[in-house]
């Protein structure tokens, strides 16, 4: 041990890659969780193929999990990996561009054979030279398959099952490399496999042997320690994915509002986890109906909203398209409804497992008629909780559909989450019709906020007929009167606009006197903030204004934008928010856009901003 050098790091990026059956997601999750327990900030991003099991060893089947851990300000899963674990040549080939110069490659020697090279489309038997990385990275070959086999010798398991544990050998090795005691990993495994003692025993054995292998062989690289985070507020934390956080945000809101939570949904990548998470929560009274299609998903939810519950639906881009008409009905009937769109690459089926921000204009405008809905977006996996809660609060208090935009990157990625208590969360007070208001018309509303009173079937004296036809402002009867229609259109618009009295003002982060204002929204916050901080550290003057509330915009939007001479709107689409912003706050906006199914990298952002400041 003594001859091994230990390097201290501020932060490190590790990427686990292999076949989609190699268990890389589990390995990555375990490693990031135990790092968090040791006091690191974490941010993770899984990157997996849409094929469930592509042919083994081929490029199409490569699944990856990246984790960024460090002492402070870990806003993103990181750009390039300091350490890449590649279970086969295909995984190496797909990820070779993503290894830092001087980085470490740990690979399974047993899977780096002639036939494996062929499957991955290598022309020679030296993939490192072929990829031009043999001089720039440190190689740690480990015969993971053979070592796993000998580790499990004597276990009553077939060879296939034995080899399935080789990810644990890799995890053990990584734990050694980063000086992470494996007790915590064993604790996690116990929780996961507690009911299957033989699987648990095997995994723990392989994990331990992997750790000892590194320790005993004195592999000729330095090991690393990473400082504990010193910036996070004290408290209890967990690591949570955006989809789970969103699901729990809805639950919290329903409890705060004193309503049942009802989800109508249909399976769609990458949003399905929200439905699955809520289906687990029957203990908290959550009702989930897995509908026959996307349209039924939202209309069943709208039925539940009509019946007086907190109703939500979860989907992704193609599903949002199918739900448009029903969102219009929620606008017209002025019923509360939360629509969570976990965006993915489009159009059409597009790139189901990849991330994009391309549904913004669909969320804002993708309906017939003048059909204003609230649109908000989350920044990080953990704050999907907050925004799902706020989406519910706004829907219930303002009697409107609210579309929450997250994306594949947030939905599947994880970040640290400070655990909340229900009594710390804001109150939610739906605008119920009150006793004494019996006989009130279906269009009756608060004249200031324009919020319609919510009447609940089952309660005597409030029987009303609602629907998608235009209604008379005063009597609530069906009406095609021209002047009345104008008034109703204006009223529905004013109701949404008025919500800007309840949302936080737009903040400027970074240098207040900046020469360049970076504008972003939603899940790009981490990358934009990291790039802006790095630029300011280098002596530039640059600021970030990041939007979570998109319709309505924060009240001070114009005032903030006009303060800066140069404004660049950065988003993972071809300029949808820029287009929207131009219509709301006319002016000159530069754009930086990327539509590759991947998040921004901090490096490319910095390069672009440097160019703009020249």
């Amino acid at each position: 041990m003594s001859n091994i050098k230990t390097t201290e790091l501020e932060n490190v990026v590790v990427r686990f890659t292999g076949d989609s059956g190699d268990g890389m997601q589990l390995t990555g999750t375990l490693f990031s969780n135990l790092s968090a327990i040791l006091g690191n900030e974490i941010s993770t991003f899984p990157d997996f193929p849409s094929e469930i099991r592509a042919p083994q060893g081929t490029l199409g089947g490569v699944s990856g999990f990246q984790v960024h851990l460090g002492a402070s300000k870990i806003y993103t899963p990181g750009d390039e990996a300091d350490v890449l674990v590649a279970m086969n040549p295909a995984a190496l080939k797909v990820n070779a561009d993503g290894i830092k110069k001087g980085g470490v490659l740990i690979f399974d020697e047993d899977s780096f054979k002639k036939s494996d090279f062929e499957k991955a489309g290598f022309k020679t038997e030296n993939p490192f030279e072929e990829l031009n990385i043999s001089d720039t990275i440190q190689l740690i070959p480990a015969a993971l398959s053979t070592l796993t086999q000998s580790s499990l010798e004597g276990f009553d398991m077939d060879n296939k099952t034995v080899l399935r544990s080789k990810n644990m050998f890799a995890l053990g090795l990584i734990c050694w490399l980063f000086n992470r005691p494996i007790d915590q990993a064993i604790h996690f495994l116990t929780n996961k496999f507690g009911k299957k003692p033989s699987v648990l025993q095997a995994n723990v054995k392989v994990l331990t042997d992997g750790f000892n292998y590194g320790n005993n062989l004195h592999l000729s690289v330095s090991t690393y320690t990473i400082e504990k985070s010193h910036e996070l507020p004290k408290g209890k934390y967990t690591s949570i994915s955006g989809n789970k956080a969103a699901a729990w945000g809805l639950i919290a809101a329903s409890k705060k509002a004193g309503l049942e939570l009802f989800l109508g949904s249909y399976p769609i990548t990458p949003a399905t986890d929200i439905m699955q998470e809520l289906a687990l929560r029957k203990d908290l009274g959550v009702k989930v109906v897995q509908a026959e299609d996307e349209i039924a998903g939202i209309t069943i939810a709208l039925g539940a909203s009509f019946a007086g519950q907190l109703a939500a639906t979860s989907t992704s881009g193609p599903g949002l398209a199918l739900k448009s008409e029903a969102i219009g009905l929620a606008v017209m009937a002025e019923l509360p409804l939360v629509i969570i769109d976990v965006m993915r690459g489009g159009p059409s089926t597009g790139l189901p497992t990849k991330t994009e921000q391309t549904d913004l204009l669909q969320a804002l405008y993708g309906r017939n008629g003048e059909s204003p809905a609230v649109v908000i977006a989350a920044n990080t996996p953990a704050d999907c909780f907050h925004y799902a809660f706020m989406a519910s609060k706004i829907a219930l208090e303002h009697m409107t559909p609210v579309i929450l935009l997250t994306d594949s990157y947030l939905g599947n990625g994880t970040s640290l989450w400070k655990l909340p208590k229900l009594n710390e969360l804001p109150e939610i007070k739906p605008n119920f019709a009150k006793p004494g208001m019996e006989g009130l018309r279906v269009t009756a509303r608060d004249e200031v906020s324009k919020v319609r009173y919510w009447t609940i079937p089952g309660i005597k004296g409030f029987e009303q007929r609602n629907g998608g036809l235009e209604k008379d402002y005063s009597t609530g009867a069906l009406s095609t009167d021209p002047v009345n229609h104008q008034k109703m259109v204006d009223t529905r618009n004013e109701k949404i606009e008025y919500i800007n009295n309840f949302i936080p003002e737009l903040k400027v982060e970074g240098n207040e006197k900046a020469e360049l204002l970076v504008v972003g929204w939603g899940s790009t916050h981490g990358h934009l903030m990291t790039a802006v901080n790095a630029m300011n550290k280098k002596g530039n003057k640059i600021a970030l204004a990041h939007f979570n509330y998109i319709n309505p915009l924060p009240k001070n939007t114009e005032e903030v934008i006009k303060r800066f001479k140069k404004v660049v709107v950065c988003e993972l689409n071809s300029g949808q928010f820029a287009t929207y912003l131009r219509s709301k706050v006319p002016g000159e906006y530069l754009q930086f856009n990327k539509v590759q199914g991947q998040p921004f990298t901090v490096t490319e952002l910095e390069e672009h901003f440097e160019g703009l400041l020249k």
Partner: protein, 339 residues
């Protein structure tokens, strides 16, 4: 339920203040009146009654009932009604729909709500035409029929709502004829009392675009020769003079005349609407004129757990077992650490 507190309602209690706007002579009026009578007889107060519809002439009906109503979007009534019922199982939920709304644009929701057996009462107005869009053929329009969108006659094979309901494993199917009020009232009341999805196909006349589609059935003179009113436990006897009956000939139905060739009431089939096996019920539902009478009344009525009931029960069962009782318990249950 404490029967002493059941209020007595009249049909008037279920009339809203809205002026009914169907065409004069439309068959929908008769169904609306029947429905209001049934609601009164059922005794569920208006505020616990929710009437949900999609789009079409018949889907305007919720405006005319004094309970809670939701006139939703085309084809989606079944899904909205599912949400209403599952969210609040205490409500009595009606779904008003037509042959286009239910079987064309809403076909998917229809079969799935029937499959789930959500406790909703579906009144399917079948006039075999699109009325509100002014006369295009619908999924139930007879093959060859000339409409505005089939100027040379339709080339499509029509759906039979009964067959779809049975195919979707429906637990209740009834049929009524708009003008035959007594059997309609009996059938719709049975539908309301059935636990699970009840489908009632009501044959209605569109005076404007498909006038007389059911005339051969409706005409008073011959009506009871052409339809058989099915009641559970009663012999399948019909005819103006109650002299005809249905019997089995091998696997097929046949018509027998009482008193002829020694046929007596004992040779006539007794209707079993509660039979799990739907073979005979389907045969009855599929009878076509003029060879056979059209079956109205309750054709199938089989009890099984409804979806909303199953949901309530499962929640209760899980809640009794789970350690997680509150949101804070949920938070406490996750892997966590101090930082």
């Amino acid at each position: 339920m404490d029967t002493s507190i059941i209020q007595q309602y009249t049909a008037k209690d279920f009339k809203s203040d809205q002026y009914v706007r169907w065409c004069p002579g439309c068959g929908d009026y008769a169904v609306l009146n029947t429905l209001q009578k049934v609601m009164a007889e059922l005794g569920v107060p208006p505020h616990e009654t929710a009437v949900i519809s999609g789009i079409g002439c018949s889907s305007r009906l919720p405006y005319y009932i004094s309970g809670y109503g939701f006139h939703s979007i085309h084809g989606r009534g079944a899904a909205v009604a599912t949400g209403v019922k599952v969210a609040n199982p205490k409500l009595t939920v009606w779904q008003i729909t037509g042959d286009g709304d239910c079987l064309a644009i809403g076909g998917n929701h229809f079969i799935h709500s029937v499959r789930r057996n959500v406790d909703i009462n579906v009144i399917l107005f079948n006039n075999q035409i699109y009325g509100l869009t002014k006369g295009q053929y619908s999924p139930t329009t007879k093959k060859g029929y000339v409409t505005k969108s089939s100027p040379f006659g339709t080339i499509e094979r029509p759906f039979r709502p009964a067959e779809l309901t049975f195919g979707a494993r429906g637990t209740f199917f009834g049929r009524t004829l708009d003008v035959d009020l007594k059997s309609a009232q009996m059938t719709i009341l049975a539908a309301a009392k059935h636990k699970g999805t009840s489908v009632v196909e009501t044959l209605v006349n569109c005076v404007i675009f498909n006038d007389g589609a059911h005339n051969w059935l409706s005409e008073k003179e011959t009506r009871y020769d052409r339809l058989v009113i099915l009641e559970h436990g009663k012999p399948m006897i019909f005819g103006k003079n109650n002299d005809k009956g249905l019997a089995l000939d091998g696997m097929q139905l046949k018509i027998v005349t009482l008193g002829e060739n020694g046929v007596t009431e004992n040779d006539v089939l007794i209707h079993d609407a509660h039979c799990e096996d739907s073979t005979l019920q389907l045969k009855l539902a599929m009878m076509e004129g003029p060879e056979f009478p059209i079956a109205v009344g309750v054709i199938r009525d089989v009890e099984t757990e409804s979806y909303d009931e199953a949901m309530t029960n499962q929640i209760a069962e899980i809640q009794a077992k789970s350690k997680i009782k509150t949101f804070d318990d949920l938070i406490d249950s996750c892997e966590q650490w101090e930082m």
